[in-house]
């Protein structure tokens, strides 16, 4: 490829400046502010500000609430990632093996993607509602004392379900296009080499989807960490007993409802570091294995 050479050293910077400005204003600046606030303590009205070093971090890390929220976030994101990836892959594989009406399935399965997480939450609060929710009654008829308002497990299960449901459509589309990218002759060669359908899937198709799976794995984890915020806010709001609070939701509650800006900033910074470490780890160790 031909490289464009600029005579003036600054012109290239001029071209990338819109991106840089956006990143600065919407990502770097808030991060810096969060780091700043995490080191100070303010009174409730924001009149006096005092530099307290790591006191906010200490408070956050010594609080048992923090760990239960951390634990819930880990389990929640693991389950959501697992179920939404699994279901998306399953549906994509089935759709891909269909000869007719593939287009209809593709379109229908795409729809949930268009919904905002908060709307999904609203819909869920109707379906899972005690007074007139069909799913609520159905689950109770099955013999499960399902009650998201008082039973933490019910509430957590409900959140895992709706968060996974919302993400299935994205995963489905990516997996489907990944499947369609596998050369037909490679599949045919595997038909001659391997009789068992399931073995062929796990030894040929699944490994060939690895780049797609890796990409979706990262986006799904990020999704369940951050984008599920709206869903939680329109359904459980962290109840019952704070057992459905993800870290992101806890930060919001502590900061905006509890007016503890310093404490919630410290938690944000910890979360930021945590996500950074996961991402670096994923790219460093997993990515090596997925490319062929």
């Amino acid at each position: 490829m031909k490289k464009v050479q600029f005579n003036n050293k600054f012109i290239p910077y001029l071209f990338v400046s819109p991106q840089i400005i956006i990143i600065l204003v919407f990502f770097i600046w808030p991060s810096i502010m969060a780091i700043y606030y995490s080191f100070v303590m303010q009174d409730a009205f924001g009149v006096s500000t005092q530099f307290v070093w790591f006191q906010n971090y200490k408070d956050a890390l010594l609080n048992s609430d923090y760990y239960s929220s951390f634990g819930f976030t880990l389990i929640f994101s693991t389950l959501v990632t697992f179920f939404s990836l699994g279901t998306g892959l399953f549906l994509a594989h089935k759709t891909n093996s269909m000869i007719k009406s593939r287009g209809i399935y593709r379109t229908l399965l795409m729809w949930p993607y268009a919904l905002a997480p908060a709307v999904v939450g609203l819909m869920a609060s109707f379906f899972f509602n005690q007074s007139h929710g069909d799913v609520y009654h159905f689950l109770n008829q099955l013999g499960w004392k399902f009650d998201p308002t008082s039973d933490p497990f019910s509430a957590q299960a409900m959140l895992v379900f709706i968060a996974s449901w919302k993400q299935v459509s994205v995963n489905f589309i990516f997996f489907l296009s990944g499947l369609q990218g596998i050369p037909k002759s490679v599949l045919e060669a595997s038909f001659i080499d391997c009789k068992s359908n399931s073995k062929r899937f796990w030894t040929i198709i699944f490994p060939l989807l690895a780049p797609t799976t890796f990409f979706l794995f990262i986006t799904n984890i990020t999704y369940s960490f951050f984008d599920t915020f709206g869903m939680i806010d329109t359904t459980t709001r962290g109840t019952p007993m704070g057992e459905t609070k993800t870290l992101a939701y806890k930060i919001y509650q502590d900061g905006f409802l509890g007016a503890d800006i310093g404490g919630s900033s410290a938690q944000s910074v910890i979360l930021m570091l945590f996500v950074l470490i996961i991402t670096i780890f994923q790219f460093k160790y997993l990515e090596k294995k997925v490319h062929y």
Partner: protein, 360 residues
């Protein structure tokens, strides 16, 4: 007895019909027998159904009607993995996520062959194909020729009863193609595995085949040894398709067994019942010096192509293209030339059904 057993047909295709999505038949009531250990080459123009036929033998494509037998057993409903066949694909179709060794052993592992035996076979095959140093590489780290070898290896290692090749050399450059062609034939002479090889390259067909099948829009035009196909083409299609440069063909009116070739009358040595025939003459059967029982024709030279030991003269007569192949030295600036053609070297085809009119 011995001869009888050798001649036993191993792969037997009986009245097979195939179409896609209930459209026109691609393969039209085709029957074909392949003997054990034979190297059969299927040639034909693009789209004539060669790959379709091969894929039906492999089981990758269903058959609309008819039967395919391997070793006396009907295999219409046997899945590809149980047919004891191996296939080499045009684009190799190696598994991109597996290294060469795993590509070779994958089919064996799925057949529950003991590990020790797999290891020996991988060793033997990679030695045979000279890919020992490549075992740990991924397909993306191989050259086209090396991939081709691995694809061959993956097929051979299974020790299949039938080998199917779908234009395996068409992605290679000319030199490598010639080299691999020789290797494939050598390999076949060594392993003696029944092979069906699809190509649209007639040189490949002529050099590799024990027998050639010429396929034309789903119908077999002719089956025969390379010599038979070249020297005794049974139809106009075969005569045009086989041979480089292609045969010169002219249409001529015939009256009382006398044909008219560019204004010259010629008494034909065959009985013609029609009043029109196609006359075919191979470029190498045209003489530049007077010979007995021939007619003399003047041709206008368009271009002379020197191929080293021989030359091709591209010419025309009355706006008919005409190609002459000769060993003689030709002056490139020559504008016209007299050539001599002999009746007995001519192929005559009926203008009606385009079939060969035989010599008596």
């Amino acid at each position: 007895m011995e001869i009888n057993r050798k001649k036993m047909s191993y792969l037997n295709i009986k009245n097979v019909i195939k179409n896609y999505n209930n459209e026109d038949n691609i393969i039209k009531n085709l029957s074909l027998k392949v003997e054990k250990g034979e190297f059969l080459v299927i040639v034909g123009p693009s789209g004539c159904g060669k790959s379709t036929l091969l894929r039906m033998i492999a089981g990758l494509e269903d058959i609309n009607s008819g039967e395919i037998e391997i070793n006396g057993k009907i295999i219409n409903n046997v899945p590809p993995a149980d047919r004891n066949i191996a296939m080499v694909f045009q684009n190799y179709a190696l598994y991109p996520h597996m290294n060469v060794e795993k590509n070779l052993s994958y089919g064996l592992k799925n057949r529950k062959i003991p590990k020790a035996e797999i290891a020996t076979r991988v060793k033997d095959i990679s030695k045979l194909l000279q890919i020992e140093d490549l075992l740990k590489r991924k397909p993306s780290e191989l050259s086209g020729g090396q991939r081709q070898r691995v694809a061959m290896g993956r097929a051979i290692i299974r020790e299949p009863k039938i080998f199917l090749f779908d234009e395996p050399l068409s992605n290679l450059d000319a030199k490598l193609r010639t080299q691999m062609r020789i290797e494939i034939r050598k390999l076949h002479d060594k392993l003696k595995i029944t092979s069906v090889y699809v190509t649209h390259d007639q040189i490949e067909a002529m050099t590799l085949a024990d027998r050639i099948v010429v396929l034309n829009s789903g119908i077999i035009e002719q089956v025969g040894t390379p010599d038979e196909i070249y020297h005794e083409p049974q139809s106009l299609f075969v005569s045009k398709f086989m041979g480089t440069p292609p045969m010169n063909i002219f249409k001529s009116k015939v009256y009382d067994n006398v044909a008219n070739l560019f204004g010259k009358e010629m008494k034909l040595d065959r009985n013609i019942n029609d009043n029109e025939v196609y006359i075919g003459i191979r470029p190498e059967d045209i003489y530049l010096e007077p010979i007995e029982n021939s007619i003399k024709i003047e041709i206008n030279i368009d271009m002379v192509e020197k191929l080293g030991s021989e030359s091709l003269i591209y010419a025309n007569i009355d706006n008919h293209n005409f190609i002459v192949k000769t060993n003689e030295k030709i002056n490139k600036s020559l504008k016209s030339l007299y050539v001599y053609i002999k009746n007995e070297k001519m192929y005559l085809f009926s203008a009606k059904d385009e079939k060969l009119i035989k010599k008596q």
